[in-house]
Each structure stands twice: as C-alpha cells, then as structure tokens.
Symmetry: C2
Subunit: 250 residues, 2 copies
C-alpha cells in the first residue's frame, strides 16, 4: 500500500538551478526524487508548496509524495537524510492528511530576505545574505514597507504564473535589525515570481535616499514592473515557512 507523505525540506540553494527539475543542472526536486529512487527503486514524483528560484534557500519548503514503504516512517526519514547531498535535508516527515496538497492547501507563505550591512564581505556570515556595504535608512525602509501590506495588485513587483492574476494579500512585512544583519520578513497568501527580490531592491533605493518612502506607494499603484527593483540577488532569500489551515496538513 502506498503511503502519502508530507515532508519539510531545508536547503542551501546556492548550487541549484532552483526547486523544479531541469535537464541542464542540479535541482532540489531532482535530488530528492533521486534519493527516493535509490532508496525504494520507485520513480516517485514529488509536489512542492512553491518553486523556489535558482540560488534561493529554504527552511520550510513543504513537499508531498506517494511511496510504497513497509518500515517505520522514522527509517524513511533517516535514510533520506543519509542519501541526500549535504546541502539538502528533510527536517520533518509524517503522513499527509487526506486531500492534502502542499501548494493548494497552503494558506500563506513566509519569506525572509537577509542583508549583511558591513563595510566588508564575510565568507563565514554572508553565505545566506546579500552584502550591502552602504548606509541604509531603516526607518525610511520601514515606512515604505508599510505601503505593501494588504491586498493589492502587485503587477509592479513580479510576474504572474500562467493563468493567474497579480493580486496578492500581504499579511505582514517588516524589517528587523540583528547586529550587522537586516532581515526583511514578509508573509502573504502567495507570491508572484521574483516578488520579494523586487520589493527588497525597491526598498533599498528608499534606504539609500534615492527615492522617498511614498514613491513605493506610487510604484505599487502604477502596476508597471519597469518601475520597481532592481531585483536583489537570490543568495539572500529564504522560504521560511508554509502555513496550512488547522487540521489541513500542519
């Protein structure tokens, strides 16, 4: 009997072309499906909450898959971690609830974008951050961020997936300083492609005093992607968590 499994993945996306399988290089999906094949001999297809882009990291990507497995789930969890490359790990693994779909059951996603705001780059502290050496006006960035909260047409901040509109609901978005790091934390019902990176790129222009905070409101209302950004690099972006309704898979 096939089991229906839900798992949470942590990964360092640096050397991957993104989540979704590609023919021309390594992907998270490809590595996980390969580990499942090595372990079970079955060609398992996994579904994910979101297709993170090349270079983007995860603390909380959620996947689901069906697999024939007769041993304890703990053994499946341990064996997958033993077979996966060091930059991908299964954090949690359990039976998925009936009807669970990692993408369609999700009610919100949380992302974090991290900036290392120091004069010099740091190989040990900066792997999962974007190094920005210049001065930044955090209060101005926070003010600008407030315009992004709520339900809006975010056409200025990303491209829709085929067949979708560009309206999204941002539940919360703010900046937090932690020593030399600045973290942009955002939760929304769903995200457009490159949405967080275009937002952060725009907010950095505010932080540098190149545009006033209210300009972000004008950019949002213009629904013109040429006005936002530039998108900041993928290395600072992390999918933190995917939320599901009570009893619906969490």
């Amino acid at each position: 009997m096939a089991l229906y499994i839900k798992a949470v993945l942590e990964y360092d996306g640096t050397r991957y072309l993104g989540f979704q399988i590609q023919s021309h290089g390594p992907t998270i999906q490809g590595e996980v499906e390969l580990a499942l094949y090595k372990l079970t001999g079955q060609r398992v297809r996994i579904k994910a909450a979101g297709r993170t882009d090349a270079g983007v990291h995860s603390e909380g990507q959620v996947i689901a898959f069906r697999v024939e497995w007769k041993h304890p789930l703990e053994d499946l969890h341990r064996a997958l971690n033993a077979l996966l490359p060091k930059d991908i790990a299964v954090k949690e693994l359990s039976l998925a609830p009936d009807g669970f779909h990692p993408r369609f059951s999700a009610v919100s996603r949380e992302y974090r974008y991290t900036i290392l705001n120091t004069p010099w780059p740091s190989p040990l502290r900066g792997r999962f951050a974007y190094h920005f050496p210049g001065a930044l006006d955090l209060e101005a960035m926070k003010e600008a961020t407030s315009y992004l909260i709520g339900e809006h047409d975010f056409a200025s901040f990303g491209s829709p997936t085929k067949g979708e509109n560009t309206v999204r609901r941002v539940y919360r978005a703010d900046w937090r300083r932690d020593g030399d790091f600045l973290h942009f934390e955002i939760e929304a019902n769903a995200f457009l492609k490159r949405m967080v990176r275009l937002m952060v790129g725009t907010l950095l222009r505010v932080g540098q005093g190149k545009i006033p905070p209210e300009e972000v409101k004008a950019i949002l209302e213009a629904r013109d992607i040429s006005l936002s950004g530039p998108a900041v690099p993928a290395c600072g972006l992390c999918l933190v968590r995917v939320n599901y309704p009570e009893g619906g898979g969490n």
Copy 2:
C-alpha cells in the same frame, strides 16, 4: 618603495586544499597571491600565521607581504576584496610593524571547533559545523578537557612540524553550549598538526560514555598518537584569532 602589509583573512575553507599553495587544486594562499598579482602585476609571496588544513575555516588568519603600492591602503583593501573569490575576504589591512612576522611574532592562537548536536543535519546552520546526532555528556567532556590545559607533551594529539618537538602550552580550553551548537574553544602558544581535531575526537568518546574523563589524562601521558581520536572532520574547525605582543603587530 615597497610597503610591508599585515592583513587579517576570513575564509570559508570548504572548497580549498588548505592555506598553503598546492599544484593540484585551489588554496587560500594561491587565491590571495593571484588577487595581488592581478591588482599590481607583482609576484607577491605572502607569509601566514598558520597553515590551516584542507576544509578548515578562518575568522582571524594573519598574513604579511611586501608590495609596491602608491595609493591609500584603503584602496588596496577594497581592491583585494573585489578581486578575491566570495569565500575569502580581507577583514583588516594595515602597515605591519618593523620586524613583524605573522608566524614567529605570534604569542598564541585561538581555535574553535563547532558541533551541531541535533537529530537531523542542517544545510543552513551546519556548513561550519560537524553534525553529531547522538547524546553527549557535556559535563564529562568539560572534565576531560581540563586535563589538556597547561604545558604538556602533546605527542598523543598531533604530529610535529619538521624539526619541532611536541611540547605545547594550552592557555585555556573549554566547551560552550549555544542552543543546538557545542563550541570547543582552545588557546595555545602553538598547535601541532591535527591537534584540535584529535582532541575533539577523543573528547567526543568521553561525551558518548565510551571512555571516562580521566582516560584523557592517561592518553595524554602515554604520548602515543594511536590512542587519541579519531580526528573529527575539518568542516567544524575555525582559526579564530592570532595574538601578538603589545606593539608587536596587533
């Protein structure tokens, strides 16, 4: 006129064969000398406080070199960081005091070995740590560590460099817990090759209850390298700082 420069290097040693230049792969020394050559056209030879092994990281490696440079030192610093690979950075750069030698002027070195003590590996938190999932008795490890402090013949814990004896003076050594991480912090006048990794490997045997804490004293006194270890992996080791006498280059 050639300037005599002292610099502090931070690096992620993961993809390097170690500090010292090698013909068969990338090294820290090789990358820094290449950056200096690209910048100045001069074949600069750098000297270092210590030759970190393959895969070992640094927050405080100290180097010195002579270079012809007519611009502000700040420009040399910035240009080197722009030319170096992302996993190597110059943290500090200044004129070296007269007679300064990064290795021979040093009075002590500090290393840290980091263990990630969680059931599952963590790609985001574990890059600079050794993942050890089992239970560890930290109090027993601390007791065993106390036997390593002071001046001893550490022949059981490392190999001497050619022409040196195996007596070293350990000024301090202890374990510190920080959430899921265990840090072994040690300062000594100098270290034998693989000394920290053999110590930690031995102390982990104590932490697992395989040998009692006093056994570490017996291993030390036996002066027999076959009794210690096994050496833990390089990925958890970091050269934290090199100390110099007041006015002698710090």
